[in-house]
């Protein structure tokens, strides 16, 4: 038995090492390439300093972060009440909701974007005499393109749905809501004060997945002609190889930092709970 356990540990270490090499080698090589100066045969942070000073860097990064925040907010505001209501009031509709939320998985992003373009082209012709015309224009405002938020909400639906569904499955939502109501909480207040705090981890997971998706999405933004961070990276990495790699590493680090912050938010709460007990 002891021999089997030590063999398993060995295998585990080997698999971890392989996975580590798989991720670390390309990253390390990229970092080395981005700081290498072949002319002077020394290290240089030129690519990074140029990158930080390049026009559009801050604007595109801010736009991406804003898009991520708004997408997460809209997604959670849409999904959480719908999923809680389905669980409590119409459990038979759960498969229907799951199917609807899974559809974006089987629709290619290009197809979705083509559809959006179709609507945006069709809109002005047919809605020019209605107040909706201004709406069509407003959602394409390059300062904050709401149309991208709509697209990202759709794209993130399958991931967010599964994360929240797992959280809802782990708590007895019906009993908790009824207990809260018998303590004098109205239905919305019961959901907000009792259900949502107990979904914290799954909401953070859903948020992290959505943020990762938004910060990494290129196709839709590029085709629709907007410049969030990914599109800016692609445009600015074309002329200078080193800068292109530096921008990829920077982008990766930004996504990691945001995800780590989201994860730390959950961990910090759990830590406080343990400390109090």
């Amino acid at each position: 038995m002891a021999q089997l356990i030590s063999r398993l540990r060995l295998w585990r270490g080997f698999v971890l090492l392989l996975a580590g090499i798989y991720f670390a080698v390309p990253l390390g090589a990229s970092v080395l390439f981005s700081v290498d100066n072949p002319m002077t045969k020394s290290w240089s942070l030129r690519a990074y300093t140029q990158l930080l000073g390049a026009p559009g860097f801050t604007d595109s990064l801010r736009l991406s972060l804003e898009l991520a925040v708004v997408t997460v907010a809209i997604l959670l505001l849409l999904l959480v009440p719908a999923m809680v209501a389905t669980r409590l009031g119409a459990p038979k509709l759960r498969p229907v909701l799951e199917l609807i939320c899974s559809i974006p998985l089987v629709v290619p992003v290009v197809a979705l974007t083509t559809g959006i373009i179709g609507v945006l082209r069709w809109g002005p012709d047919y809605l020019s005499t209605t107040p909706l015309f201004q709406t069509i224009l407003a959602i394409q405002n390059p300062t904050f393109p709401v149309v991208l938020v709509i697209a990202y909400v759709l794209m993130a639906l399958p991931f967010a749905y599964r994360a929240i569904d797992a959280g809802l499955g782990a708590v007895d939502v019906k009993t908790l809501v009824e207990a809260a109501r018998s303590c004098g909480a109205s239905f919305p207040r019961a959901v907000f004060t009792v259900v949502v705090p107990n979904l914290r981890t799954s909401l953070l997971n859903a948020s992290a997945l959505t943020v990762a998706l938004v910060l990494g999405e290129y196709t839709t933004a590029s085709i629709l002609g907007f410049t969030p961070f990914t599109v800016w990276i692609a445009a600015n990495g074309k002329n200078d190889g080193q800068m292109s790699v530096a921008v990829s590493i920077l982008s990766l680090m930004i996504v990691w930092i945001v995800l780590l912050l989201i994860s730390a938010a959950g961990r910090e709460r759990r830590g406080r709970k343990s400390a109090r007990s």
Binding site: D172, E178, A179, R181, C183, G184, A185, N198, R200
Partner: protein
């Protein structure tokens, strides 16, 4: 009804929940083709603990949930102190509830759970804290105030849930099988504790259970439900001693059926004539229903019965006796007396000299 405050708490507001009258009038509720409540009429008196007892699907939980405001009824009325609460939402019904599954809010400590209702009501933080500590004291768990539900046992969680239900001083306390998820010893302790608290506070309590022992030991009155209808509502002793229907007789305690025949206005059983408690069904074959402790048994070589089994229950031993026609009858005897009747021995069965309950014969397999 007035009750004496349990103690003088530091908040200055006595722990003094209400004691309302609850009435179900011709209550009906169907789920699709299944009728859960079929014209339930029942009154719960102020300050009493009434147990709703019955098999699964008899409608007891539905009645409780309708009173709590978590279910709606198709017709009939639910009155609390004479006021129809049908249109009152659950959070305004002034009814504290303890659920079968542990229903404490996992993200809150015991004290915060107890104080939750007061927070909803807008009480100040210091008042909430004081009241929560009083109630934790009341259920004997002040030392668990800062513990989260996952750090407590099932019994402790249910006691906290009880404290939470009492925090708002409700007019009615609703207990939905609160002990069924607990192990036997904890269940016994908590049963006594709930009863003590209920009596001290004098709060009108509706207690749903499928456990007859629980119902008989805790309740002032027990309402036995069957298929959405009230079969009988009486004190535990009356229900046990004088069941009005065969269903109640067999559901509450143990009963044996012995074939009987009509004889005038009574029945003949095992060669003797007996008066009947209630009415004799006009047609069909008959059985009489007898409790094990009401049947006598003596050793007799030609007694017409054979002892086929014995279960030791402590001071009493329950013997199973088979009659000539194959009918099996349970008989409770003092263990010393039962020792004189070994399994395989012949015996003579004696029925009590009192009116017997009669029912249509149940065919085997029914």
């Amino acid at each position: 009804m007035t009750t004496t405050p349990l103690n003088a708490p530091p908040t200055g507001v006595p722990l003094h929940p209400g004691s309302a009258t609850v009435e179900f009038r011709s209550l009906r509720r169907a789920f699709g083709t299944t009728t859960a409540l079929d014209g339930l009429d029942l009154t719960v008196h102020p300050g009493e603990l009434l147990a709703l007892l019955g098999p699964s699907g008899c409608g007891k939980t539905t009645a409780l949930r309708i009173l709590a405001g978590f279910e709606t009824h198709d017709s009939g009325e639910v009155l609390v102190d004479g006021e129809d609460v049908t249109k009152t939402p659950a959070h305004k019904r002034d009814a504290g509830m303890v659920f079968q599954s542990y229903s404490l809010f996992p993200h809150l400590t015991a004290a915060d759970n107890v104080a939750f209702g007061l927070k909803m009501r807008g009480s100040s933080k210091s008042d909430r804290r004081k009241r929560a500590m009083e109630l934790l004291e009341l259920v004997g768990l002040p030392q668990r105030a800062e513990h989260f539900p996952h750090q407590m046992s099932g019994g402790q969680q249910q006691r906290i849930a009880l404290a939470r239900a009492l925090a708002l001083q409700p007019r009615v306390l609703l207990l939905d099988e609160p002990l069924s998820a607990l192990d036997a010893k904890v269940r016994l302790n908590l049963r006594e504790e709930i009863r003590r608290l209920q009596q001290d506070l004098g709060i009108t309590t509706l207690f749903v259970t499928h456990d007859q022992e629980e119902a008989l030991s805790m309740a002032d009155r027990v309402a036995v439900l069957r298929a959405g209808r009230l079969e009988q509502c009486a004190t535990p002793s009356e229900l046990y001693a004088r069941p009005t229907t065969a269903f109640v007789a067999e559901f509450v305690g143990t009963m044996s059926r012995i074939p009987a025949y009509r004889s005038g206005d009574g029945v003949e059983v095992l060669g003797r004539r007996h008066a009947v408690d209630g009415v004799v069904p006009a047609d069909g074959e008959l059985d009489v229903l007898v409790r094990p402790e009401n049947v006598g048994l003596t050793a007799a070589a030609d007694g017409g019965a054979v002892v086929v089994g014995a279960s030791f229950l402590g001071a009493v031993t329950r013997l199973t006796v088979r009659l000539l026609d194959g009918t099996e009858v349970k008989v409770d005897l003092a263990t010393e007396a039962a020792a004189l009747l070994p399994v395989g021995g012949n015996a003579h069965l004696i029925l009590p000299d009192r009116p017997v309950l009669v029912d249509r014969r149940v065919k085997s397999g029914q």
